[in-house]
């Protein structure tokens, strides 16, 4: 850890260096959270002064059909997206860790969707999923099937999960690959000498050693899941600020920045943040409990 103690005038340098971040932390983050909570107790259209609304913005949420639909969609989306992303990227990383030929090429291929703009790639996916002469439906028709409304209300959830997982595997893969490469080779040699099977190596060497990466990646992926927006905006928006598969962020965007109902949007943002905090706390508790094996 750092060991320089600032003396005299140097204290000003410390303050000066930290100042932008302190302002960002105080105003940008902590202040904004407080302000958002405050705004959630008002009705405010940004044209007239805010009026006190008590808890009405919260009380109205259960009756807000778009919000409730968004809540259900977000939970369903996270429930599919988080395990799929973590498991597939872990699995790809373990495959790549086998010292196969073409490692660099594979790594680039899986990473490509992660660095590309979801807006731009989303346009491509609108074509893949298009009901009328879309790529997927053309392929289905070619083998004699019936076209599917991929972005319609029935299937949109799964279509959206696929695109988002497709775009997220690369990031997880890199984290897991770094974690795998940090496991000392001796562990495997010792375990093999003791007669461990491939399955036992995975269960008792690889997974425990990777537990910190898996934990970190699960927390991160969950936070991302609750904030999913770009692909959803591009792929599912329909007229008048609606969507065939609205999520919470979409609903916040719609209330706050399409219809300028700031109090309403703030209440939804508070609910979203509370959900993320609760889930993260649950993860940390789980990690503590399982920490003994990791």
């Amino acid at each position: 850890m750092g060991s320089l103690r600032p003396l005299g005038r140097e204290r000003w340098w410390v303050l000066a260096f930290l100042l932008p971040s302190l302002i960002g932390l105080a105003l940008g983050t902590l202040g904004s959270i407080a302000a958002t909570i405050g705004i959630s107790f008002t009705d405010w259209d940004l044209l007239t002064s805010p009026t006190a609304a008590g808890l009405s913005n919260y009380a109205e949420l259960p009756g807000d059909r778009l919000f409730m639909k968004s809540l259900v969609n977000t939970l369903a989306f996270a429930g599919l997206y988080v395990p799929l992303t973590v498991i597939i990227s872990l699995w790809v990383a373990m495959g790549l860790n086998r010292k196969l030929p073409g490692l660099t090429l594979f790594r680039m291929a899986f990473f490509l969707p992660t660095v590309s703009s979801p807006t731009a790639v989303g346009l491509l996916w609108t074509w893949i999923y298009a009901e009328d002469r879309g790529l997927l439906n053309e392929a289905i028709k070619a083998v004699g099937g019936d076209p599917v409304s991929w972005l319609g209300p029935d299937v949109a959830l799964y279509s959206i999960v696929i695109v988002n997982v497709w775009g997220a595997i690369g990031g997880g893969m890199i984290i897991f690959l770094a974690g795998l490469q940090a496991i000392p080779k001796d562990y495997y040699e010792v375990a093999r000498l003791d007669g461990a099977s491939t399955w036992q190596l995975l269960r008792f060497v690889t997974l425990p050693a990777l537990m910190p990466s898996i934990f970190f990646q699960t927390v991160l992926t969950t936070i991302n899941a609750f904030q999913a927006f770009d692909y959803i905006y591009i792929l599912t928006r329909i007229g008048n600020g609606n969507s065939t598969m609205p999520t919470l962020v979409f609903s916040i965007y719609r209330s706050g920045f399409r219809f300028f109902r700031m109090g309403d949007a703030a209440a939804q943002a508070v609910v979203l943040t509370a959900m993320i905090f609760v889930l993260t706390a649950v993860y940390f508790r789980m990690q503590k409990r399982w920490g003994a094996t990791g």
Partner: protein, 273 residues
């Protein structure tokens, strides 16, 4: 063959299929953008009559050159702001001991969990009150107020630099600012490069902020909002749409091929240790 060799072959086969699923859509994007409109529903991968006509057509419909410039400008300013303010804070956290340091650092990390949507409402109101709604300032100004991700990333790297270097410079009378600019920054080029790529991608790929601050003026807005506007007007004209997408994706892909190591390193470095 041994079990392990069969496993390798199986893994290779499955990974190849996976890699094709990753690259396939991009190949399709390029191929379609080079087809004439008449061939847009032709499922052949190689266009029968190769054409570049979609690209000039694109720029005639919308001022894409302005939007590219806007996105580039906003991204570059954001990179400068982030590199400077995050590494300044990271330097203090890594090198200087002061009361409350650990609490402050933990507080900073906790903000990683705070979704952007909860901070965006007051920020929007502030920028609107300042008369900056409809300008590009809200898109790059926040980059000058540090950030948990970059500060954490740079701090981790600074901690690997032996503290004795700073101590020796200090005995020779160097100020903290001098130690930062002449010792720490020059020694941290790999980390700075990786973080710069991140900050650039974050800004270049951002849709949400641009959508709320610059929703509709093609001359002022970013490429991503332009693409969304284009989609509402020209949806279904796939040759044009794919050319538009490629304009946004191509520079990133080219940069990615050239600096793959830095990209990968950046993500790996962000892994908690």
């Amino acid at each position: 063959m041994t079990r392990n060799a069969w496993g390798d072959i199986l893994a290779f086969a499955v990974l190849t299929l996976g890699a094709l699923a990753m690259i396939g859509p991009f190949v399709w994007m390029i191929s379609t953008s080079l087809k004439p409109v008449a061939e847009q529903f032709d499922m052949a991968l190689i266009p029968q009559s190769l054409t570049f006509e979609n690209y000039p057509a694109l720029f005639n419909i919308m001022p894409f050159h302005l939007m590219i410039w806007n996105s580039l400008k906003i991204a570059l300013i954001s990179v400068v702001g982030q590199l400077l303010t995050c590494s300044m804070a990271a330097f203090i956290f890594a090198v200087v001991r002061f009361p409350g340091r650990n609490i402050l650092f933990v507080l900073m990390l906790v903000t990683l969990m705070v979704p952007g949507q909860v901070t965006v409402i007051p920020q929007f109101i502030i920028f609107k009150t300042l008369g900056l709604y409809g300008t590009q300032a809200p898109l790059y100004a926040p980059a000058f107020l540090g950030g948990a991700f970059g500060t954490f990333l740079m701090r981790q790297y600074f901690m690997t630099i032996p503290i004795e270097l700073a101590e020796a410079a200090r005995i020779d009378g160097a100020s903290l600012a001098r130690i930062f600019f002449t010792i720490y920054l020059p020694l941290s080029k790999p980390a700075l490069a990786a973080f710069a790529i991140f900050a650039f991608l974050f800004s270049w790929n951002d849709l949400f902020s641009a959508l709320i601050y610059l929703p509709s003026d093609p001359e002022k807005t970013t490429l991503n909002v332009g693409l969304a506007l284009f989609q509402t007007q020209y949806g279904g004209q796939w040759t044009l749409m794919m050319a538009a997408s490629l304009i946004s994706v191509a520079p990133i892909i080219i940069a990615f091929f050239l600096a793959q190591r830095h990209f990968v390193q950046g993500i790996a470095m962000s892994g908690f240790k």
